[in-house]
Amino acid sequence: MSECTVFRSASLRETYTKIKHKSGLDIYVFPKKLTTTYAIFATRYGSVDTRFKLAGDADFSEVPDGVAHFLEHKMFDNEDGVDSFARFSAYGADANAYTSHHRTAYLFSCTENFSESLAELLTYVTHPYFTPESVAKEQGIIGQEIRMGDDNPAHRRYYNLLRALFHGKQIYTNICGTVESIAQITDQILYDCCRVFYHPCNMALVVCGDVTVEEVLTIADQHLPMREPVEIIREYPPEPESVYMPKITAEMSVAQPMFSIGIKDPCANHEPADRLRREAAFSILCEMLFNKSGDLYNTLYREGLLLGGLGYGYESNPGYAYVSLNGNSHDPDAVLARIKAAIADAQQNGLSATAFARCKRVMYAEFVRDFDSTADIADMMLDFVFADVEPLSYAEVLDSITFAEVEALLKEAFCPERFAMSVINPIKEG
């Protein structure tokens, strides 16, 4: 039997139900009175998972880079020759999929035929069908996807930052792989990876919209295969605390240098609750240091060192985490020096308690706002549940972060040797 638990937040005025389905899948149903219903079915399997086995297997399997993403493309093929995009289209649903470092996700949004669409989602993602011909055909398409990324300076800047910050090859390798690595992919490799990672107990389904638990459960009972639980063993090389190299540059056809500054956070292997707390504290701290109300941003902009905005965020993953700061500047080295100086100054002279209160309020308001779209809600739910924490509690976690905690984090986390920078420079004439 499936087991249901209801979660509620009085302040957010939201409720959802978590179902431990008998197939082993965790299902989350988040009712929302909007026209669009959105469903996302995802596996904890991303580009970093290249060395793994099931408990009981004798040896580890090692697969080429880009298999998770390749699988995402090929899951839409079906044995009867009709691709799942066409089926969704006939229901009037809009389907899509994506792959990240740690996740592959399949999703759709619809305004009618929800049950049919959900049935299709659960069916095609659990019924792989690959042939040597279909694999060969996809190599051409993904090859062009890789080339498209090669022409995108923000994309190159991002991967170069990962290259500078991290030693682990799985972290900095392109999620799509390379033209060479995807040439090694065969239908058998796809089947093997599917067997390991596309197992209900390694997956989650989130549905958000004007739907009931009963509707979702009826479809899940009919379409989810029952399988024996498995244990997946992944092997990642341990990530050292140090950065791999402090600066990495590339030349592309851009008008001005584009930079991305990373600050590695080596304390990423905590318990889920501690990681969530750390993420909340980092979000508030980054807002205090880098936001548009603050001195640092406004000085850099006024002096013309920053061309436009400064993007910032904290990214936390199993095994690694970092802060990143992105922008355009004629002098990225000067920007880096100023950022380091501002942080050193704050470490020495302390932060402002008023700014702390204001930034906490900003983070709270941004969290509340995420509950205005079924897609945003479902995506956010998935982020939290894959991090093994309860989503609605985030408002309270944010609220419970103290000024002292953030000041301590500032002193501990931002040491100079954890900085790295990726710069895309314009091509030199001649």
Partner: protein, 434 residues
Amino acid sequence: MKRYELANGAAVNVIETDRFKSSLLSINLAVPIKAETAALNTLLFCVLKQGSANYPSQAAINTRLDDLYAAELSTRNYKRGDMQILGFAVDFLDNCYIPDGTDVLGGSADMLGELLLHPLLDESGCFRADLVAREKTMLCDAIRAQINNKRAYAQRRCIEEMCRGERFALPLTGTVEEVDAITPKMLTDRYYALLRTARVEFFFIGSTPTDVLLPRLEHAFAAYPAHSVAEVQTQVVRRAELVREITEEQDVAQGKLVMGFRSGYAVADPDYLHFMVFCELFGGSAASKLFLNVREKLSLCYYCSADMDSYKGLMFVSSGVAAENRDRAYEEIMRQLEAVRGGDFTEQDLSNAVRGLQSAYRQLGDSPGALESYSLGRMLFGVNLTAEDMVRGFGKVTADDVIAAARRVSLDTVYFMRGPACGACPDDEEDDDE
């Protein structure tokens, strides 16, 4: 949607809804795109958001917005046909989520009024020279940075070439030379002229009742001057005369192909929905002709899709292909167009396209931004169809309507951006630099 008028004549469009935890308030100024004012308008809004009389810096403005529970301010500057739409919008949390009773609606409305009507001026009544100089530098850098996004740049170049001589071809940012030539005096004169001549449309989407909202807007915008508005007609070229081909070289690994078509339809045409269904069936989704053939069957590309500019009557097909496959992609795209023209599609293809569009228009009501953008655009073009009317209308489009629409579109300009050619092979380039 209900429409009200402020004492100064500005229109306020209100969509009252309690679906969302946040509300959207915007002020939109519509003026014709003109070579002599486009860059001034753009720079003006860059300068306005640097500070106002009571919030004299970006830091002061942003701190105030943060205190309004992270009210999010955005600047508008885009084309709707031959019109330039300028303005500010602010998105803020609903009162019931504000624990300390801060009046975020009033504060947000006041902030929009501040930015637009109480600018930061020097003793002579002009915009401050230092701010103007800095924002000119920033804008010039932004113009140069357009090359960074190759796909968007290719699309922009296609429009410039295709609509040359039409207002629509003018870049809203102007050129680096035009921006360089702007003085604080010119900008100040333009500011007052813009307020006097622009059509003004407010939008509010949220749960606040109008008896609370309207007095707050009257108060915030009391200083808005009297204005008289000239109607703007968008020039729609219904048919391309002959096909122009342009190839340019950039440092790219993948060629970017953009094919610009005249759709043959204007958004106010009674049969405009026929074209929309055709465009969706041709290249609007992963079940479309272009996706299934150029990508899935020939595996020439990762993306190949058709989209439209409804207000200007244009359709674009874009694809990223290896330079050596440019001709194959081009031929396949034209072959698929011929197929639709010949009626070579199924009832299922038609019904997929109709359902896709119906779903998209039903979803409008779930996004305040999308709802506002749709409502403002159709209002400016005198189209009185609600999203529900559109959903019903799509359902009436027949296969013959789609065939007729396919026959009406005409290819105008083929733009191709390719990587550096090898030295040995002289190219068939037809460079058309300005």
